[in-house]
Assembly symmetry: none
Homo-oligomer: 282 residues x 2
DNA sequence: TTATTTTATGAAATTTAATTTCATAAAATA
DNA sequence: TATTTTATGAAATTAAATTTCATAAAATAA
């Protein structure tokens, strides 16, 4: 079964009556939905059109159109043999696991196409262009993405910090200026430390960007700009793995966009660093 | 190449100027089109919206919406051969860049299916199972992967280090025992610091695992076990980005495999940590 | 060559689809 | 029991795709 259908099935219990009607219709007619309109689906599931639109948001996908795309992709891939992904089995060989992880990571990255909002992304890039200092903050599994962001943006001339140390960050945040940026990374959006520092950064006048799931979490509400990652937990072990990939994919995009926009000035410095690396290698 | 793209290519000569503009844009950006509107595509190909609609008819598909569906299906399935690689253009919008990065990352991950050797992978997992201490070491862009590895393996009870500090590592390596593991991460396999520490670790009797490109680099030759990442650098900016994803995908696999094999004993500790995280969140 | 018809195209109008707003009723909380 | 929050559908709005219509260029006929 496709990852999207699995997700719906899992969330079914959390849904309201209306949402459940929609979810159940989709689960029993997955191949029909990609070519339906909101109106048709609304009629079939006996709900309003508005509820269909809302349903998509509720499972972390930005629009009905993207939802259909995602669903179709899932259905297509599952049929095409690639590696019909079922969660981990006792008897899996190491190589089986490799294929499953690869497949899951790939799927997660692709599905971020559906969760990330275009306007929010544009706003984030704009905010970063204006900033001098950027703080990346995440804890636990999100430290990797924070670290990666800090490294990348330092390379193109930003003052960055990306320490997971809460208290260190408290000493740094007061130095943020009006146009500077705080990027809080938390899958759930409920991580206390992240929320506290984000709030603190906002008080200093910095722009707060959140990289988190699309739910009504505190971090989500608090942030000026929200970059949403898809919520997809296949196997609980794989779940935590794939979310990191998606965070990194977003960081990559921010970096590349800023790089792209800053253009030549950065490029010179970049090339200089590259040459020096080459030289040291000899 | 997908059947739809093939068709367009074949018909190209028959097309009018306007149709050719559209066809050419689609051929050079197949991964972008499925999420574009007629307006966007019209603008990109420098034609009118009406012409986009007509183009679809002209190649025998009844509506633009169906055309996109078809194309997406094709692109998804055809993913095996990602030889036609995206490069960045001056006029790319932020969202274009996002789509390209996503596509590139996804492609890189999938292509690691081809570069990673099954036996080497099995050997690596076996070595890790036997180890108590694991050192992850990479510099520059590879620090992210090293850090991630350190974090993951610590979670399942290993003694790990993953500092990019060369001298710190020199003080740690002498404590490695016979079955311990040193994982050196370097895309080129030529990074001096990594080679030196790997050599040092090997002298202590540790097993050296390299995550690197498949070339005859010093690191490649020196390592006991080599986990190869595909070498694919189209655009030099995207190149450095995607390589990190592949490294992480391999780390993920190692982690998951070891987790899988260690089984229940680790699981208990894992759950304990998970519960505590939940509790602290409140 | 010149007049007439056909074809290709973009601008504007129309139709269709999706989303948002707003009012209301139900549920949760104080 | 009063107040706030949440969930929902109807209606309004916005966005996307298609069709119509006018025009200019090419093809054909006189």
């Amino acid at each position: 079964m496709s990852s999207l259908l699995k997700l719906i099935k899992k969330e079914l219990s959390r849904f309201s009556d209306t949402e459940r009607k929609i979810g159940e219709f989709i689960l029993s007619n997955p191949e029909l939905v990609p070519s339906m309109t909101t109106k048709e689906l609304a009629k079939s599931a006996e709900v309003s059109e508005a509820s269909v639109t809302r349903f998509c948001r509720s499972i972390g996908i930005n629009s009905f159109r993207l939802f259909k795309m995602q669903l179709m992709k899932d259905v297509t891939v599952a049929n095409g043999d690639l590696t019909t992904f079922t969660s981990l089995e006792k008897k899996d060989s190491v190589y089986d696991l490799f294929r499953k992880v690869t497949y899951a990571n790939q799927g997660a990255i692709v599905s971020s196409l559906a969760s990330l909002d275009r306007v929010q992304l544009e706003n984030a890039v704009e905010a970063l262009i204006k900033a001098k200092k950027v703080i990346f903050y995440g804890v636990g599994g999100s430290v990797t993405a924070a670290y990666d962001g800090g490294y990348k943006f330092a390379r193109i001339g930003y003052q960055t910090t990306s320490s997971p140390d809460f208290h260190y960050n408290i000493t740094v945040i007061p130095h943020l200026q009006k146009d500077d940026v705080f990027i809080g990374i938390s899958l759930s959006g409920k991580t206390k430390n992240v929320i506290e520092l984000a709030t603190f950064a906002k008080e200093q006048g910095a722009t707060v960007i959140a990289i988190t799931k699309m739910n009504r979490s505190p971090l989500y509400k608090l942030a000026d700009i929200t970059l949403c990652v898809p919520s997809m937990e296949e196997d609980f072990r794989i779940g935590t793995i794939t979310s990191r990939m998606v965070q990194l994919n977003i960081i990559d995009t921010l970096y590349l966009s800023v790089f792209h926009m800053l253009g030549d000035e950065v490029l010179t410095a970049f090339k200089k660093a590259q040459n020096e690396t080459m030289r040291l290698r000899k």
